[in-house]
Structure formats: structure tokens, C-alpha cells
């Protein structure tokens, strides 16, 4: 059937997954359900210890068997060692049919691809996948449908019981022998453990993996001992150089600076830009440049941000340190500056992924956003965004908080260059819909700015503002005039993945990639 963003969702996909087709971003507002609950093995006897000698021992004590679901977080980003270390041991034990339910998977996890091919891993549920795992899924090598969920959607799926985690492995920069886990200190500092909190509360078995055992009690803890069954000390849980980089140098790319200026000018001319406004931005060069230029305006006008949200970078922490932000609320740290800030600034606060973005709790932070500044691989003339599947049809990105923040914010701005190499970022129809156009208000490119016609209020308040406004169709036409109109990707028939909307409905389906064939053979 055709869903609310006009995508054809095959009946057999809905049957196979038991999911509904996407019916609109707020269609399930007020939905009632009873939360799932984990099995708990009580620890009454103070003589019983939680320390185990190896990952293998942890797996055995948790009763690992075929068909289980194992979960992981991605706070170590491109420096993660935990996923590979655990899956290697699972493989050695000869266990098959494992579903990996991770908050995200990246190039650091390329090493698990052979386990997809040999049937150790048959399911993947993640915010997205980059690198070779994405290529393997797109090539049809995973036995079941990969499920891509936003950060908020993942927590929803765990809390409703849509996914049940048998064993959660939580990499922790510091842990005590009773399983109080902190994100700060140790060798593999990652700032926060937000994405692992739901896993700790809802998994039947919880194993902490650390490379820095500290004296009891390790508090205040991001994850409490009351939810942790075992603690395993290993040599290294991650590569610190890849977990957090130094602060990105402010971009000198004039295109990005121009987009950042457009963005700041747009933001300051909306009615939401006033004392106490709330704001989230990403890590792209243009986003960071727009945070810096917005900071100058805030300083000039004496306007303070009441809430800064999301994945945090150094420029946001600098605004906090200057007193221009009242509370910085954090689910992920992208650089060393952010990690240092959360250690030292009491107004920089760690929250859970549920508090951040879960659409099925009683209200998440994203709902309180005035602005979110996002990037996108593609955006189409219906303002639908694609952040997961590359224009070549291969899964190569992650939903992250994109659909969550877009749904929550009063003003969702997508910043993108008109062309990414030859590929038009503004197109007639995105390869895959990950964020519905009804939640995207403005697209800013270096060639012009398009406001979603649904937002007549924003169009009205920009009518005397000197910015290069145009329609989204005009942006697309400019892109096609430069690069040529792209042919659609030649997909196979088989579905390899499902893009879940944040409420768990199917917003799009990802198909197996086919090797490119020229349609006529002239000249070959």
C-alpha cells in the first residue's frame, strides 16, 4: 500500500514485520501501551561477585544461544572495539542467528561482515550503518530485513517490547566491580552513555565491558549497578583517537560560510529567536559555522539560549561557557571539547536517549525545540529527506535524531549544498524517505532558500528579509541544469531493509542493489 509520504510499501513486508504503513508524523499521538519488562536474576547474596574473566565467560553466564538479540551502543563511534570483540567471541562459540540491535554501527565494525555472511548474524537493527556492513546489507547478504530506526524510535521499540534484548553489552569508560558505569575518566572517555540507558533497563542480561576498573562506588553513575549483571575488564574498549577528535577547525569553505550566514539570518528573523530559545545543530561544517555566527548575534542582542540539545560539539560548549546558553542537554559528544565541558560545567547535563527523543514516552526534549539545523544526503520537492541510503542506492548513513528533531522542532532547517559532487542534493524524489517532508520547514543551499509552502507563517515573516528565496522546484531545476537530471538507481526486487518512522510504522523500504547495466549496448 501507499503510505503517507507516497511510498509503495509491499503487503508482504507489512505482513512479515507486523508493522503498519506510515500514516503521518503525529498519527499515533496519545497511543497507549504497557511497557515491556526484562527478566531479572536477583542478587541477594553479597558474596556473589559480578566480575567475569572474559567476554566468553560473560556470554556463557548469560546463557547465549542461537537466535538471541544482542545490543550495543555507539558512543565510541569510529573508535569502537566492543561490537567486534563480542561478535568475534559469539562466532567462536559457533552460535548462529544473532540479531545485533545497536544504537548505530559504523566503519569501526567492518570486521563483523564475515559473521553476516556465515549466518552468525542474521538480523541488524540500527540507526544506520556505514562502511562494509551497509554494502553487505545492500548486496542482500543479511538473511532478514535490516531495520533502521531513529534514536527516539529505537528507545520506543525497546520500551514497547517490539524488540526484546537478551544481552546488552555496554562499553563503559569507567566501571566499579558492581557495575556502576560512568562515561568520564579512564582511557576511552566518551562523555555520556545516553544511548545505552534503555538497554540497561530493558535487557534480560546486562554486561558492562570496561578497560578502567575503579574503586566502588563509581558515582554519580550514568548506568546504575541495579541493572548490571556482570562486569568484564578488557585491555581496550576503544581507540581514544577515534572516539573523539579535536574540535573541528571552523570551515573556510566559502560555500558553507554563505549557507551558515543565510541560516543565521533566517533564524534571527523568525518569531522563535527570542530570550530563552532552544536549539539543536549537527556536526557538519556549515552547521558549526552557523552556530558560531548565531553566537555573535546572541551576544550583540543579549539573547540567551535556554536549551541547547543533542549531539554536542565544542562551539556549543563555548557558548555555554560564555553564559549564552543556560542548559546544554547532551546525548552524544562529538569532540574533546564537549567531553571536557560535560565533566566540568554543571549546566552541561547528560540525558537518556528516551528523554532526548522517544516519541512514546510522556514527552521528550525534542518536542521543546524551537530550531533544529540538519543536514541531508538528499531532499526532494516534497521536502522529504534521505539520510540513510546514498544516491547510488547503497546504505551509507544513519537516521540518528534527524526524524525525531524534525518532528519536534517548531522550525526545522536543512542545510545542504545544492550538489554533492555531481549528485543533486535537491531532487524530484529522494532515493529513500527517512524524514517526512511535513516536518521539514526550510531548505537552505548556497543557490537559494526554499520554505515549505505548508509554512505560510514563515513565508509571511520572511517577506521583507533580504535572502535569496525561491521554490524548492527552482532549487531542483538549478541543480539539474548544472549536473543533468539523474537516472533512477537500478534496484533489484528484493527488499533488504525497512526504514521505520519514529513511531514504528514503515516509512520506506530499501531494496537490494543491482549492478549497473547500460540499457542499450551501443559503443561497447
Amino acid at each position: 500500500m501507499r503510505n503517507a509520504v507516497g511510498r509503495e510499501i509491499p503487503e508482504e513486508i507489512l505482513r512479515e514485520t507486523g508493522k503498519q504503513a506510515f500514516a503521518g508524523t503525529y498519527a499515533l499521538d496519545g497511543y497507549e501501551y504497557k511497557k515491556a519488562a526484562p527478566r531479572v536474576r536477583a542478587l541477594c547474596d553479597p558474596k556473589r561477585e559480578k566480575l567475569v574473566g572474559s567476554i566468553r565467560e560473560a556470554l556463557e553466564k548469560c546463557g547465549l544461544k542461537d537466535g538471541m538479540t544482542l545490543s550495543f551502543h555507539h558512543h565510541f563511534r569510529e573508535g569502537d572495539y566492543v561490537v567486534n570483540m563480542v561478535m568475534e567471541e559469539v562466532h567462536r562459540l559457533g552460535v548462529k542467528g544473532i540479531t545485533v540491535c545497536a544504537s548505530s554501527l559504523g566503519k569501526a565494525n567492518d570486521a563483523i561482515v564475515p559473521y553476516i555472511e556465515d549466518g552468525t548474524i542474521t538480523g541488524i537493527q540500527s540507526s544506520g550503518v556505514r562502511g562494509r556492513i551497509g554494502e553487505a546489507i545492500s548486496a542482500g547478504r543479511l538473511q532478514t530485513l535490516a531495520i533502521m530506526r531513529s534514536h527516539g524510535g529505537r528507545v520506543r521499540a525497546i520500551e514497547t517490547g517490539e524488540v526484546h534484548i537478551d544481552i546488552a553489552f555496554i562499553g563503559a569508560p569507567t566501571a566499579d566491580e558492581y557495575g556502576n558505569l560512568r562515561a568520564n575518566g579512564g582511557k576511552s572517555d566518551c562523555g555520556v552513555l545516553s544511548y545505552a540507558m534503555a538497554d540497561a533497563e530493558y535487557a534480560d542480561h546486562v554486561v558492562a565491558v570496561t578497560d578502567c576498573l575503579v574503586p566502588f562506588p563509581n558515582i554519580p553513575a550514568s548506568i546504575s549497578m541495579v541493572n548490571v549483571d556482570y562486569v568484564c575488564v578488557v585491555d581496550a574498549i576503544g581507540n581514544p583517537e577515534k572516539i573523539a577528535t579535536g574540535a573541528a577547525k571552523p570551515t573556510t569553505d566559502v560555500r558553507k560560510l554563505m549557507m551558515a550566514d543565510y541560516c543565521t539570518k533566517f533564524v534571527m528573523n523568525t518569531p522563535y529567536f527570542k530570550e530563552g530559545f532552544s536549539y539543536q545543530t549537527g556536526v557538519g561544517g556549515a552547521s558549526i559555522a552557523s552556530t558560531i555566527s548565531l553566537g555573535k548575534i546572541m551576544e550583540e542582542r543579549g539573547i540567551h539560549m535556554g536549551l541547547g540539545l543533542g549531539g554536542i560539539t565544542t562551539p556549543m560548549c563555548e557558548l555555554l561557557a560564555k553564559g549564552l546558553i543556560r542548559k546544554l542537554v547532551d546525548t552524544q559528544d562529538f569532540d574533546m571539547g564537549a567531553i571536557e565541558s560535560i565533566k566540568s560545567n554543571p549546566n552541561h547535563v547528560e540525558i537518556s536517549a528516551s528523554e532526548y527523543a522517544n516519541p512514546f514516552n510522556k514527552g521528550a526534549y525534542v518536542n521543546k525545540l524551537d530550531f533544529v539545523i540538519l543536514a541531508s544526503l538528499e531532499v526532494d520537492v516534497d521536502f522529504n529527506c534521505n539520510v540513510v541510503v546514498g544516491s547510488d542506492g547503497v546504505i551509507t548513513g544513519a537516521q540518528g535524531g534527524h526524524p525525531d528533531t524534525a518532528a519536534g522542532a517548531k522550525c526545522t532547517i536543512v542545510l545542504t549544498p545544492l550538489l554533492q559532487g555531481r549528485i543533486p542534493a535537491v531532487c524530484s524524489s529522494v532515493t529513500t524517505v527517512t524524514t517526512p517532508g511535513e516536518t521539514v520547514d526550510v531548505v537552505i543551499t548556497e543557490y537559494g532558500i526554499a520554505i515549505n509552502p505548508k509554512r505560510q507563517d514563515l513565508i509571511e515573516c520572511m517577506k521583507d528579509v533580504e535572502l535569496p528565496f525561491c521554490t524548492i522546484e527552482e532549487l531542483r531545476d538549478k541543480a539539474y541544469a548544472i549536473a543533468g537530471e539523474p537516472d533512477p538507481v537500478q534496484f533489484g526486487d528484493r527488499a533488504v531493509g525497512v526504514i521505520e518512522a519514529r513511531d514504528g510504522t514503515v516509512i520506506d523500504v530499501v531494496r537490494q542493489i543491482r549492478e549497473y547495466e547500460f540499457q542499450d549496448r551501443r559503443g561497447e
Binding site: 544516491s391 547510488d392 542506492g393 559532487g421 555531481r422 549528485i423 548544472i482 549536473a483 543533468g484 539523474p486 537516472d487 533512477p488 538507481v489 537500478q490 549497473y516 547500460f518 540499457q519 551501443r522 559503443g523 561497447e524
Partner: protein, 99 residues
């Protein structure tokens, strides 16, 4: 024009294309590899064949390794490779002068 010897133009940088021409005897034998093959493979081949035709190249083995070059870049790289195969290095008839 005739392809007299093997010649190369262009680079493998993003948004460029590397074009290699070699003498051939049986029409145009064209190989296209591209980072944007799905979206622009058809167009790349059209542009390369049109450019060769315009230059009067009838027989050649041509390989295009494309990294997302625009049409204008592709045309320039094909022209340059053909000129080089003819030992032309100065006063080049750029930009479609030869029709």
C-alpha cells in the same frame, strides 16, 4: 582525427574524470566506470561518444574513470586525450572548435 598512440587526460580527483584513448581498429570500444554510474552512466557515455564523433574519431579504445565530473569536464578530458594522442600540445582547439 585518428588515435595515433595511447594518451591520457584528467585525474582521479573528485569531480574529475580520467580518460585514456588507445588506437583501435573496430569502431569505438568504450569502457565507463563511474562513482555515479547509476545516475549518470547513460549520460557519461552519450557525452563521450558525442565528443569523439565531433572530433571525427572512428576507431579507438576509450576508458573513462569518472569521479562525478560534469559534462563540460568530460568533454574537455576527452578532447585533451585525443589531441595528446595526436601529439598536439599547443594552440589546442578547445571547447568544441572542431565540429
Amino acid at each position: 582525427m585518428e588515435i595515433k598512440k595511447t594518451a591520457v587526460a584528467g585525474t582521479l580527483e573528485s569531480s574529475d574524470a580520467q580518460v585514456t584513448v588507445e588506437p583501435g581498429s573496430d569502431g569505438i570500444e568504450l569502457l565507463v566506470e563511474s562513482s555515479v554510474i547509476h545516475q549518470y552512466g547513460r549520460r557519461i557515455r552519450e557525452v563521450v561518444l558525442e565528443t569523439l564523433e565531433r572530433l571525427g574519431v572512428k576507431n579507438a579504445r576509450v576508458a573513462v574513470l569518472d569521479k562525478g565530473a560534469l559534462d563540460c569536464t568530460l568533454k574537455a578530458r576527452v578532447e585533451c586525450a585525443v589531441y595528446r594522442s595526436n601529439g598536439m600540445n599547443e594552440n589546442l582547439p578547445w571547447g568544441g572548435v572542431i565540429r
